[in-house]
Amino acid sequence: MVGGTAADQVFVNLDHWIVGHTPGSLQALVSIVIAVGAIIVVFAGLFALTTVFERKGLGRMQNRYGPNRVGPFGVLQPMADAVKSLTKEDLVPRAADHVVHYLAPLVLVGIVFLTYAVLPVGRNMTAVNLDAGVLFFFAVGAGTELAIFMAGWSSHNKYSLLGAMRAIAQMISYEIPLILSSVPVIMTAGTLSTVAIVEQQARYSSTLAHWYVFTPWGLAGFMLFMVAATAETNRSPFDLPEGESEIIAGYFIEYSGFKFALFFLAEYLEMFAVSGLGITLFLGGWSAPFSFLTWIPSWIWFFGKLLALIFAFIWVRGTVPRLRMDQLMNFAWKFMLPMTLVVILSAGIWHFLTIDVVGPKPLGAVIRWLVCALVIVAPFIALARGLERGRRIEKRTYRFAE
């Protein structure tokens, strides 16, 4: 592993210094506590920041101010929210399954924090470097469905149950395009380790980095990945499980006070985690896009990209209205799934169109790019046309009214 500059490795060196000053028998434990504590503190802090920036950003998109009363420009709003959620009464329905009802938010938050274990947030800054890191992420991430169903079922409320069923139907449907859209990256990188995937993208030819998003299949795959991630984290426009107009708050309708805050936290942490994976797979993780920008510390790159993706999530939330259940399912199975398969095909073609086939650079590279792009764009247009045909809006004729 290549060591970075002092600024780049400041947290790694701090960790080593602390571990080095503890007695030998405790070193393993202290190392674990530092890694876990850092993840919890940093991402919970990011959650607090995101809640206020999301509200302010959405406000600006709707030509409002957003929260601006607590502290300068409303930046202390999360503290007020925390005090509120901590002091609220914790209600549990009499008919609820108390144990499961109590465990559901804890299980959800625990599972979501587990997924952070394999995210490389900087050079040499990964809690656990698993050989099957991506697999671990998806396997653990699928556990959130269990927690959501625990919440929905134990509340003994019809809206909770409907919300949980919606959530599970949606999450299982979108899990498939989510995983399939990350397959081309795993194919190309030839590894499931998140650390190795980032290192492969941190190489530079001339000045440009080898980010997978700069290839046609990577670009399409990244878009599909982010759409699937939006659905997977139940965020707008795929927030049907908590559609206020239909089922009030979905699976966490019977939760109040701090348990509700935990659900909220878990939802945002899930969003950060899946954005972090998207950055790792497609946007080069902690690496700089150009070789002359490598002096900026790696963790700044990672968190900068993460904030940009969070803003994209907020932007989409402020723009797109909520889908209907049938639209959601049609989109998953009729559009997302075929397109991810096409992207895998394109990645395969990219792999075999080497210099021997298309000729030397720069013309060969352009031909390779165009061929692979065509393999994706042509099916996209055909699919889009095909899906549009069935639902042309016609003038409604009324049989009984008028």
Binding site: R60, M61, N63, R64, Y65, G318, T319, V320, F335, L383
Partner: protein, 215 residues
């Protein structure tokens, strides 16, 4: 093409997002405690009592007739009539309210008390920031808190106040003319039987207004 509408929408929200930092016209929110919009003249919340002149005790128009107390739908007005009388604006002796309380926690700002008052003594206010830390005493307003000068009324509801002032000026003129006529009649009456006895007419004219029946 699939996704075209989404891109258009994203452009629109981005324009709003950045535009709201540049163009102040986009933000229509009035930041209430710091900024305020002027209230329309017709706005009204909770009644108050009017008094003429500068002394609230002396100039209070209310004569404790208790019509408003009886008409009030939520029964938020409590009046206790005085034992003695004092002269009103036209010099006529009237009762006055010893106690006049309005429970604004109960009042629904319906303005019926204003409609029924024959003495123009109660009017609607514009003061709406009434939060208090004492929910019992703080929301029960006594006569002293309710009494406000006519100048204040002229300031908050100029059109209505001008109309009321005009009517009251006319009433005052009528009352004075009536009193003068009565005084003249009394003087003439007094002069007739005792033509020889001179100098009595003046004292009779002074006493005359006191005999006019209250309305």
């Amino acid at each position: 093409m699939l996704g075209e509408g989404i891109i258009q929408g994203l452009v629109e929200t981005a324009r709003n997002f950045f535009g709201s930092y540049v163009e102040k016209d986009r933000l229509t929110t009035v930041q209430y405690p710091e900024e305020r919009l002027p209230l329309p003249e017709a706005s009204r919340v909770f009644p108050f009592l009017l008094y003429d002149g500068s002394d609230a005790e002396k100039g209070l128009r209310c004569v404790a007739c208790q019509i408003c107390e009886k008409e009030c739908p939520p029964r938020c007005i409590h009046i206790e009539k005085s034992k003695d009388k004092k002269p009103d604006f036209a010099g006529k002796a009237q009762f006055y309210p010893a106690v006049f309380d309005i429970d604004v926690a109960v009042c629904m700002s319906c303005q019926i008390c204003v409609e029924v008052c024959p003495f123009d003594a109660i009017r609607m206010d514009k003061q709406f920031e009434l939060s208090t830390t004492d929910r019992f005493g703080g929301l029960l307003w006594t006569k002293d808190q309710l009494a406000k000068p006519n100048d204040y009324y002229r300031k908050i509801h100029p059109t209505e106040a001008a109309e009321t002032d005009e009517r009251r000026a006319k009433e005052l003129a009528d009352a004075q003319a009536k009193a003068a006529a009565a005084a003249a009649a009394a003087a003439a009456k007094a002069a007739q039987p005792a033509e020889a006895a001179s100098g009595n007419g003046v004292s009779a004219a002074v006493k005359a207004p006191a005999k006019v029946e209250p309305q």
